[in-house]
Symmetry: C2
Subunit: 366 residues, 2 copies
């Protein structure tokens, strides 16, 4: 059950320094908009505390008109203010399911809570780029943060790039607001990038500078990390598929794995997110390990860039049961059945059918 | 083996009237650009023969400036000429794999050849729409053909719509040319729509008129047909997921299923296509039914809207063998393992791993 309003479940902390924590299932499923104080936190270095008045953003590289913009400049009306409800999701979300297949040393065992949805407020990156006038040779837009990572080789700020074709779309924001309040330090104050539909790693926090380039970012966090490798490969510069758009995914959040529940009618709840520009078209739920399926109620639609929080009543006979959920997107694509074939050395993109095993007791007995 | 240049394998005809035929595997795999005379043909009615001089295209509905444009108008220079190499694919491509799971009465058993890639020449639909000035309320762009279908209920022209956001992208063409020659009657002369990344049904042939609307097309071929239904559902107006973007797919074309091949080194060849705006990032091939995998060579890159023709040498021991291929796209998404969970009443979107069963003889013995 969702916690009473205002009473949050503790986040699940995987690491204190740098701080890495995921949202508890009850907080994910309670509302389509994730509470700011429960929102997941994925960091590769210490969180910088930035003086918002002294802060200025540099836009440089392959532009005809390099810019330096303070927060006051961004907010003075020359760029229209935009709000987008968008889901962010870590590429390592649901990694735990891959670790159950085979170990992944050195990577956090994220459950389904390395994702969340917020209402972001800021200006369109596209409008700021228009002011800077990208050169014809520009093909990629890199974002460099003020957080320095000692995990990187060599140590460097967190950074990453997106294709210019995505950067020009109106949904990509330079955001200073989250859920109706100023962006908190933990989520990138004073300004972060929000790239709806892309892996969270591209939504760079504590934004320092934007560099227009004629190729993708070649720093550690794009050239070595956040790449999908074949199982037998070693991570290294340029190896594997650079992650960008998020793949269709879904998770059962309620009831939780291993729980004892009573026989009879139970409501299964979870989220589904299509990633990229796609939308969730259908979610199927099975209460018998995938033999028979029913369609879930998709809940409120918060637009193209947001997940769907779904629910589905099922009848559970007593005994062991396996709940399964799978989503279908607007392209008619669905998810892989098993995590086994998805295993990869860094543990990204586990989008296998979500499975929860239950011990169903007799009705009335507790 | 690919046929010698200029010598085409016969297309595989599923129906003479209306004419429905798929490309033979050898012609698909011989080159990334499918020869025009081998290109698949999917029709719901008789092919109209249109007088190209008398023909004119109407653009109407939610536009501030309705237009009527002859072919000479389209080609007189007011709209820049564009060429796009784009793969078209029928939503029913590879339906045969679903029919093997459970019968699908009344639908053609398409193999992997209801797809092909051509160089299309024409003008950007976006430029023509700019001239017609879509009203603020416009959200969808419908295309109506000159071919009348008696299969439809009631009989009507073939038609379908795409979202305005896609229609405004530069890759969507009003095309009069195919592979460097005028568009043949069989492929929609004088002008067809080409919607790269979307199911072939939206690339309406023998284009008659374009209607800007505030909702998707509600004719038979979008409201009833080309929708992905849950297995237990009945086709009907508005039921199921309306197909749009194509889902990631791949097929083994060589060697073919059931063939006897010699033990030793064999080159496996096929295509992979990511659909939507995604690109193919990797293709894995297994010669042992999915136990072990190697990465295929992806061949020439013809751009975002075209498939990749891949090849992969494998070593086959004698005895029965199962070849398997699966693709990964730029979002790190891969394909479903089995066709069983994909079965649906109209037989669309079979994008399960491609499997070919072989009888491998001793090396040297024939």
């Amino acid at each position: 059950m969702a916690p009473p309003h205002g009473k949050r479940t503790e986040t699940i902390v995987h690491e204190q320094d740098p701080f890495n924590a995921e949202t508890a299932p009850a907080d994910l499923v309670a509302s389509a908009i994730t509470p700011t104080d429960a929102f997941y936190s994925r960091n590769h270095g210490a969180m910088p505390r930035v003086d918002a008045v002294a802060w200025a953003l540099t836009i440089e590289g392959l532009v005809d008109r390099p810019l330096r913009l303070t927060l006051a400049d961004l907010r003075d009306g020359r760029f229209p203010v935009r709000r987008e409800t968008a889901t962010l999701q870590c590429a390592g979300n649901r990694r735990r399911g891959l670790i159950e297949v085979r170990e992944i040393p050195g990577e956090a065992p994220w459950g389904p809570g390395a994702t969340g949805t917020a209402v972001w407020e800021g200006v369109a990156l596209a409008d700021v780029l228009d002011a800077a006038r990208p050169a014809d040779a520009a093909s990629d837009v890199a974002f460099v943060g003020l957080d320095r990572s000692e995990e990187a080789d060599p140590p460097q700020p967190f950074a990453g790039s997106i294709p210019l074709r995505k950067a020009r779309r109106p949904e990509v924001l330079l955001a200073w607001g989250m859920n109706g309040a100023p962006l908190p330090v933990a989520h990138g104050a004073p300004v972060r990038v929000v790239v709806p539909g892309f892996v969270g790693a591209r939504s760079v926090k504590w934004l320092d500078r934007i560099e227009l380039r004629d190729r993708p970012w070649d720093g550690f966090f794009q050239d070595v990390v956040y790449r999908l490798l074949p199982p037998e490969a070693e991570p290294g510069p340029g190896a594997g598929i650079p992650l960008g758009e998020i793949a269709l995914n879904a998770a059962i959040l309620e009831p939780q794995d291993g729980r004892e529940v009573r026989a009879g009618r139970t409501t299964v709840r979870g989220y589904a997110f299509a990633g990229g520009e796609r939308t969730v078209a259908r979610v199927d739920v099975s209460a018998d390990g995938g033999e028979t399926w029913v369609q879930a109620d998709l809940g409120d639609d918060h637009g193209r860039w947001a997940w769907r929080i779904w629910s589905c009543p099922v009848d559970l006979p007593s005994g062991p049961a396996e709940l399964v959920a799978r989503a279908w997107d607007s392209a008619g694509a669905s998810q892989p059945e098993r995590a086994g074939p998805l295993w990869n050395p860094k543990g990204y993109v586990n989008n296998a059918w979500s499975r929860v095993r239950l011990d169903v007791g007799c009705a009335g007995a507790r």
